[in-house]
Symmetry: C2
Subunit: 435 residues, 2 copies
């Protein structure tokens, strides 16, 4: 047991910061045993000093100026829980420059600026930890960087956005529309007033970028990652998928295919017996396929005050014991490995679910299947359903087509022709099917 | 990157040892990057030099004498994959005494002799790692000792024995008897010729002892852990449970109840929507409930050559980077925490599933329910079923009773009276119901 405490500054004192402060205070003795030294919350920096707070740790100076941390040589470690990327990047850079080690839960920051921050840390002999940036309380960064080091990672598949998963679960279980479920998610605090980044897949894609760097030493910018949101899905899609033995999930996926890397974040039909399909509500899950371990599943709370604080605290204790620096050095070394070639989106192959709303008149089915046939797309099953039209007029029928395995490119070309057919109302919805 | 290789000796070259040697050989370059130094397999010790082997690493001296490792000062780390406890304890003690760090996958050894080995290691400044001793490729030791350090652990529930889970899954899905499924498990290599330790719960109990020490700083000897095997279960029990919305699983459980520790390994009715119930075949799962993280689930392969080698290799890389010593020191420190009081088995409260085979004659139901009533046991549901008797004669009926929450002690006393009733054939089967 060391006599030297680890002096910690908390930058940002919102939901997660309050959770971290609570744990540091309430579990003080147990943490001392686990960390081998006292973990001392020494300073807190907030944006607005006047705000009323649910928890105020005793005897911890609170200020609104980050210089109070930068200039305090006794501070070893900064736990930076500031959102966004502008101020967060500036703070992180200055904290590292001032010789502080850094923990952050900010996925947008690590996704957009991880490589440059890592280099700054490497140059200054500092360490960055970010377990809480991906999947909240689920230790997925830990799994990839320590537990699976004997494996070549072959695939990562995950439900990395709790908001979307809550909405999709709610729609199917309560027979609600997308809008109804979104409103409920907002009422319950699972979705923000502007839910765009959650429901359009951006949030999950940022997390997937981080995991892809760690697992495959390859940087796929979030803008180049194939991405589709859940807002085009209707209850009838979820029901049709369920009747075929699938659940539709916003699946984040990065996997090797003959040595090339496929990545995407999109609503995907997942066989209902897989644990990914059974993940309900706001929970997250990550399954990692490794060359030795096979498929490993990690499931739990992907957000929330205490689950996210649990991940932050794991990083804090790792700093205190000396594990963090060793893990971070390994992450830095892995940057020198050759990145994997990225498989162009159009060459990714899946089975597909295709839903088209079509005029209810002769020869429509012939027109549709002719286009698919000409693009070499083989149909595995087809359902024409006139009874349960959620959105279309009485003059319409719904076609649900499951294809055999084809490339995105083939499917995309066929899709464009389908959308141009006069008998097709609106656009067809095309979703991949997970193996 | 260090120029000094980590020299590793492999003691035992069976299934898992071969997997470890394969990974050290085939992933040599990648491991060097991750570990920051070369991981060199320097010596192998086997029992029988004459045996034909599926994999022979080039240029690695193989001997049948452990002295070759003990006397080789260049060896840093011994990966000891010898089964049983007698020779394994002797080897471990001598290896630690010779200044070698130790990795083992031997759960029986760590369960029975962990505390004394840890003390020997502590005295000599050595480290012991044992991720592979519990749940094969699932990093549950890592989760408790590093990822969840910000939590007070409240409960651990798991399916820690793949053999039993394979048998139970197979019985229900294929309408097989216990004996038929056991035979198939033996044919497929999931069960040994003598399956006793797997099906009677000993194997799972040994693993639970290890996890209980780590999570609760409390030593519950395997002999004092409440334990029941799966060999009394019939297909009709699994079917009755399924019709009530449950799966019967061999559940290993350690949890705090008002500050007291409950532990048991027994067939348990698990609500079918829980991930524990959905774990199929030979897979393992562990769910850990922490004060901050909530319920975290870890699922994957609990045995097998490469999954177990994956866990061993995580420990090897942890040694090479320097993480292992820091984690082991924390495990040593945690021994000084006060152990938790153990809740006597008779005071553990559950809902119960009770199955009795009774004579098909008047007043039987009155006799049975009178006994339950007099012991203060309230019935939640009762099913008398004459049509699907797997084992009893035509003159018999089967009673399935689900109780409300009562103590094991109440249930045990009632049980004894039930078994003594002249109308009850054989003994009643009593299983707890998980919350």
């Amino acid at each position: 047991m060391s006599d030297t405490p680890l002096n910690i500054a908390l930058i940002g004192f919102g939901t997660v910061g309050t959770g971290v402060a609570r744990i540091l205070t309430e579990e003080h003795e147990q943490l001392r045993v686990r960390a081998g030294r006292e973990l001392r919350l020494s300073r807190i920096v907030v944006r607005d000093l006047g705000k009323t707070r649910e928890f105020n740790p005793a005897d911890v100076p609170i200020s609104s100026c980050i210089d109070d941390v930068l200039n305090d040589d006794s501070i070893d470690l900064a736990v930076q829980l500031v959102g966004g990327t502008d101020a967060a990047l500036e703070y992180a850079t200055r904290l590292l420059g001032a010789g502080k080690d850094l923990i952050t839960a900010n996925k947008a920051l690590i996704c957009a600026h991880g490589p440059e921050l890592f280099q700054i840390a490497a140059d200054g002999g500092r360490t960055i930890c970010f377990e809480a940036a991906v999947a909240g309380g689920i230790p997925v960064v830990n799994a990839i960087t320590t537990a699976l080091t004997g494996n070549r990672i072959e695939a990562i598949e995950g439900i990395l956005n709790g908001t979307s998963n809550f909405i999709l679960t709610q729609m199917l279980s309560e027979n609600q529309s997308y809008d109804q479920s979104l409103s409920l998610a907002q009422e319950l605090g699972y979705a923000e007033a502007d839910p765009t980044l959650d429901v359009d897949g951006t949030d999950a894609a940022q997390k997937l970028v981080i995991l892809t760097r760690l697992a495959f030493s390859t940087d796929v910018p979030v803008g180049e990652m194939s991405r589709k949101g859940i807002d085009e899905l209707t209850l009838s899609d979820l029901e049709a998928a369920a009747s075929l033995g699938y659940r539709i999930k916003l699946l984040a996926m990065a996997k090797l295919n003959n040595g090339q890397l496929e990545t995407s974040v999109q609503p995907t039909l997942v066989p209902q017996n897989r644990e990914l399909a059974q993940t309900q509500g706001a929970d997250n899950i990550v399954t990692i396929t490794g060359s030795a371990v096979g498929r490993l599943g990690l499931a739990g709370a992907g957000a929330g005050q205490l689950p996210t604080a649990s991940a932050v605290m794991a990083d804090v204790v790792d700093f205190a014991t000396g594990r963090a620096i060793n893990t971070f050095k390994a992450v830095l070394r892995s940057r020198d490995q050759n990145p994997v070639e990225i498989l162009p989106q159009d060459e990714q192959k899946h089975r597909f679910y295709l839903r088209c709303t079509v005029d209810d008149r002769p020869h429509v089915l012939a027109d549709v299947t002719d286009i698919l046939g000409r693009h070499g797309i083989s149909i595995s099953s087809l359902l024409q359903d006139e009874s349960r039209m959620a959105t279309a007029s009485d003059q319409a029928a719904r076609l649900i087509i499951m294809t055999h395995r084809v490339s995105e490119g083939q499917m995309r070309s066929a899709d464009a022709e389908l959308d141009a057919l006069s008998c097709v109302q609106g656009n067809c919805l095309r979703l991949p099917v997970a193996d």
